[in-house]
């Protein structure tokens, strides 16, 4: 594995600190293009805004190389201004799955214009006891940019949370899925020669895996690995009972998928990843099979079908103003994927 440390974490910080809501991914796209240009043979931005890069391997005597699609989505959940009520007050809707209980009382940015704002709430003093117990629906909330504040209908906003490192952890609004983007950049930079890399930095995952679908159709790869962040619900149960629905746990390493809400992952690939981890002594965990999903859902069913697996970095508090991941889980995710790429041979997916 190439050395892991500050350069990767600095890049992740840069990626996490911009706001890039589904359909408005320009800020991340800019960073990705800058980072990958020196390492890719070909880079294009497609009709939806995906960044699609290829890096050819080199094999002796023209031996066949597996075309491996590495996927991570550039977008994050957020807000979109939908109406101007005057004096800096704006109505908004959510873009992607945000729990409305995370919105009230939070600072935000209209990122394009770097305009700060807040989502306020009625003072507790003016509410009766019943009102205090109920969440405020989105149409009861407003973005307040201050009396001279200006935004346009259609502008996107995101949480004003800065990336930080704390002890063994990182905290950010958009670990989902900048950690995947940073991972694919790192894999592309240090790609082994036995495979051809098709790196897809996709758009609009949070609103329906749209970028991944056309990216897979463009690349037509032999196999694909979707790299994302998956929820860790590893908190105590209210009554002290055993937590049976943790999905993943922080600190146990990369989460390998077997099945989620949209994909039954390719058994050849998830077994291969487990064998690789065990052979190299890299910690890993199996994500609890269940709902949810990643770009793999769109990639697996594209074209005539593409053998696909997902690997995610566990993170707590998905789609909220602050998510938390462990640095070591990311490091081990990178270690696993670097090791796996080196071992991929055409036989891996020949026949089933």
């Amino acid at each position: 594995m190439p050395p892991f440390g500050n350069p990767q974490l600095k890049l992740l910080e840069k990626l996490c600190n911009v706001i890039s809501i589904s359909g408005d991914e320009g800020e991340v796209r800019k960073i990705v293009l800058e980072e990958i240009k020196p390492y890719a043979d070909e880079v294009r931005v497609d009709a939806l805004g995906n960044v699609l890069a290829t890096r050819q391997g080199r094999t002796r005597n023209g031996a066949k190389r597996t075309r491996v699609m590495l996927d991570a989505h550039m977008d994050e959940v957020g807000l979109m201004i939908v109406a101007d009520e005057g004096e800096g007050i704006y109505r908004f809707e959510t873009v992607g799955g945000i729990d409305v209980r995370h919105l009230i009382g939070k600072p935000i940015y209209i990122w394009k214009t770097r305009t700060p704002g807040v989502i306020g709430g009625k003072p507790i003093h003016l509410m009766d006891a019943g009102e205090r117990k109920h969440k405020v629906p989105v149409d009861g909330l407003r973005i307040d940019l201050g009396p001279a504040g200006k935004a346009k209908v259609g502008d996107c906003a995101g949480f004003a949370t800065k990336f930080r490192r704390v002890g063994p952890s990182i905290m950010s609004k958009s670990i989902d899925d900048r950690i995947g983007v940073a991972t694919v950049i790192d894999l592309l930079k240090h790609a082994p020669s036995n495979v051809d890399i098709c790196a897809a930095f996709t758009v609009q995952e949070e609103i329906g895996l749209r970028g991944a679908q056309v990216a897979a159709q463009y690349f037509n790869p032999d196999m694909a690995i979707a790299i994302d962040a998956t929820p860790a619900h590893d908190l105590p149960v209210h009554d002290g009972g055993e937590n049976m629905t943790y999905n993943t746990k922080l600190g146990l390493g990369p989460a390998i998928y077997i099945a989620d809400g949209s994909t039954l992952h390719d058994p050849r690939l998830f077994r291969f990843l487990q064998e690789t981890a065990e052979a190299d002594g890299i910690p890993y965990q199996l994500r609890q099979p269940g709902g949810g999903g990643t770009d793999s859902g769109a990639i697996q069913s594209a074209l005539a079908g593409i053998p696909t697996v997902s690997v995610s970095v566990p993170h707590r508090y998905t789609h909220s103003p602050v998510s938390i991941s462990r640095v070591d889980d990311w490091k081990n995710t990178l270690a696993l994927l670097h090791a796996a790429l080196k071992r991929i041979k055409p036989a891996l997916i020949a026949g089933r």
């Binding site: 209980r101 709430g121 003072p123 003016l126 109920h134 307040d144 009396p147 908190l235």
Partner: protein, 354 residues
């Protein structure tokens, strides 16, 4: 950036939860020291800035009270490295999920954290999709459980940690503007008084524990025995979620409150002065207890004639409280002009209008 804005930003960037006001008190003390003759600390931690009047001894005195404490939270239990919390003051539990906080650990460490909402499957069936009770929320510091156990104790304070934001149109937003914005207004008043004569002695007071028991105002009013007292605090600004009769436009002037908690004579004096100075003001009314330091001061000792000057504040008791800097400056100017206008016999002229 006006000097007062940078001071206000600095005092909302430190903690000072009710009962633990020392971090903010030290910043205020440093700011006030050159503006007054002496700054002392009361038995319960309130700051007393004394500015000597030019009148003959014994001089009457006016006390201006601005509370420096903040609402917040406290660790109530530690489970697997996660912190359960309880309220200090009137915390609105609806704004807590996803809020950035600082845990002021017993070890001396300031640990950044976030308030987490456990997923529905980890909660009783009755909870889940609506506002969760504070007993179900957890603070996550990102540290491993053994590190948390080493550093944090039950009782440790937890404060909001989002950074102040300047919004377009002279508005500042952040946590604890209730009532650090009043401390800033009183500071503007002291600055204005630097080149004004005033006959009366002035007690600039930053009180403690207003949000929980009014401890600071009760005890300082008793100890200082001013002839008159004025509290400065936020009132409700009109804005999203708040539009009733109790709400006033932000940035359009200061409030002068009326009702049983206030002395009508002081109210008239303040509003006539505001008119004279062309400081825009609005009449706020309160039917009983104003919910500010004006109440404890009014009933201290033998009773003190009391007034309340206010500025409209949006989203009170959330981490994104917002105020207009202009209103803060107006409140400060009005207070300074009032103090400078107090004549030696003002107390004798206080009359009931009946």
């Amino acid at each position: 950036m006006p000097d007062i804005l940078s001071f206000l930003k600095s005092i909302i960037s430190v903690s000072g939860i009710s009962g633990h006001e020392a971090p903010v008190a030290s910043l205020i003390k440093d700011k006030w020291r050159p503006l007054v003759n002496e700054v002392t600390t009361s038995r319960v931690g309130s700051l007393h800035g004394f500015k000597k009047g030019s009148g003959k001894s014994p001089r009457p005195s006016v006390m201006i009270a601005t509370h420096m404490d903040a609402i917040g939270m406290r660790v109530s239990k530690i489970v697997d490295g996660f912190l359960h919390i309880t309220r200090v003051g009137g915390i609105d539990v609806r704004v807590l999920p996803g809020a950035q906080v600082t845990v002021h650990a017993d070890s001396g460490d300031e640990l950044p954290g976030v308030i987490a909402m456990p997923s529905a499957k980890l909660l009783p069936e009755s909870e889940g999709s609506d506002v969760l009770g504070i007993e179900y929320l957890l603070v996550d510091t990102g540290l491993l459980p053994r590190e948390v156990e080493k550093k944090v104790r039950v009782g440790d304070l937890v404060s909001f940690a989002n950074e102040p934001m300047e919004l377009a149109g002279d508005v500042i937003s952040g946590h604890t503007l209730d009532n650090r914005a009043s401390v800033a207004a009183l500071t503007v008043c002291l600055e204005e008084l630097q080149d004004k004569q005033h006959v009366w002695d002035v007690w600039a007071v930053a009180t403690v524990q207003e949000e929980t028991s009014y401890l600071g105002a009760y005890t300082s009013a008793f100890a200082l025995r001013p002839q008159i007292a004025i509290a400065v605090d936020g009132t409700f600004a009109k804005g999203p979620g708040a539009g009733g009769w109790q709400t006033y436009p932000m940035g359009k002037g200061v409030g002068v409150c009326m009702g049983p908690n206030m002395h009508p004579f002081l109210h008239t004096q303040l509003t006539e002065l505001a008119d004279k100075l062309e400081i825009p003001w609005f009449l706020d009314v309160t039917t009983s207890h104003s919910g500010t330091d004006a109440y404890p001061m009014q009933v201290s000792a033998e009773g003190i004639p009391t007034a309340l000057v206010e500025f409209p504040l949006r989203y009170m008791h959330t981490p994104v409280e917002s105020v207009s800097i202009k209103d803060i400056q107006r409140a400060g100017r009005l207070l300074a002009a009032f103090i400078a206008g107090l004549e030696a016999d003002f107390v004798d002229r206080i009359r009931w209008d009946d």
